[in-house]
């Protein structure tokens, strides 16, 4: 089976892209496919704990995020440089993810058969 690296690079409430990227991951998990996820750029805000999307009449991403491990999607990565640039600490994230450097991201890109960025 071909492995897929999904890159989430959209801010959580900037439209449907965050949700529709997670939907692809969850569908892959439902079919037992090897799917990994990497959050980078504005996408790291998707992981931030304690958000109040109800103020924007939006649904929390939390149910989708916590569904990832339940669907067998356990290779979860976040770009550490993107966190630093936004003054975010790993402790502030709502999901257990692995911090990766730029060179580790290059490795992720090289070791996955396919990459998809919405």
């Amino acid at each position: 089976m071909k492995s897929l690296l999904l890159i989430a690079s959209h801010a959580p409430w900037s439209g449907l892209a965050a949700r529709e990227t997670l939907d692809i991951a969850l569908a892959g998990g439902a079919f037992d496919l090897p799917v990994s996820m990497l959050w980078q750029g504005e996408g790291v805000y998707q992981l931030l704990a304690g958000q109040q999307p109800d103020i924007l009449q939006q649904k929390n991403l939390q149910s989708q995020l916590s569904g990832l491990p339940l669907f067998g999607i356990e290779q979860l990565y976040v770009c550490s440089e993107s966190l630093q640039q936004r003054n975010l600490l790993p402790e502030q994230l709502a999901l257990e993810v692995q911090l990766v450097s730029k060179s580790e991201i290059r490795q992720l890109l090289a070791t996955h058969a396919q990459t998809l960025v919405l």
Binding site: K2, G15, L16, A17, E20, I24, L118
Partner: protein
């Protein structure tokens, strides 16, 4: 070579035109287009209800004609389509809407179809918009 194309760009986005040019080139070169998957705003390309000014190109109509003429496997993500008001007859009935607009030759289905096509193709090419 077996190609799968993924479109996520809107009908107004140049990426949707590039995708059509690419798809035509794939067929012209003797390769197979095993599936075209329409996601995000690209679901609008499958709508029969787009109207463009007479002196502009109707890209949705061109895509629909291309799919029909080549009898392609054109799958539109059902969740993305419903959110954006692209419905076939069955979904219009299910959600009690008074019209449907999915063009002939297109099928509403789930993201499993995207994964299946990505697994089985030799080449997957994604045309994404500016969003």
């Amino acid at each position: 070579m077996q190609f799968t194309l993924i479109l996520s760009s809107s009908p107004q986005d140049p990426a949707s035109r590039r995708a059509l040019c690419f798809a035509r080139a794939v067929i012209a070169a003797g390769h197979q287009l095993q599936r075209i998957f329409f996601y995000q705003d690209a679901v609008h390309l499958a709508s029969r209800l787009l109207v463009v000014p007479q002196d502009e190109q109707d890209l949705a109509a061109q895509w629909q004609e291309f799919v029909r003429e080549n009898r392609l496997d054109a799958v539109v993500c059902i969740a993305a389509a419903l959110r954006r008001g692209v419905l076939d007859e069955a979904e219009a009935r299910r959600y009690e809407k008074d019209a449907d607009n999915l063009a002939a030759g297109f099928e509403l289905s789930g993201l499993g179809q995207l994964h299946e096509a990505m697994q089985s193709a030799n080449r997957v090419v994604h045309f994404k918009g500016d969003a």
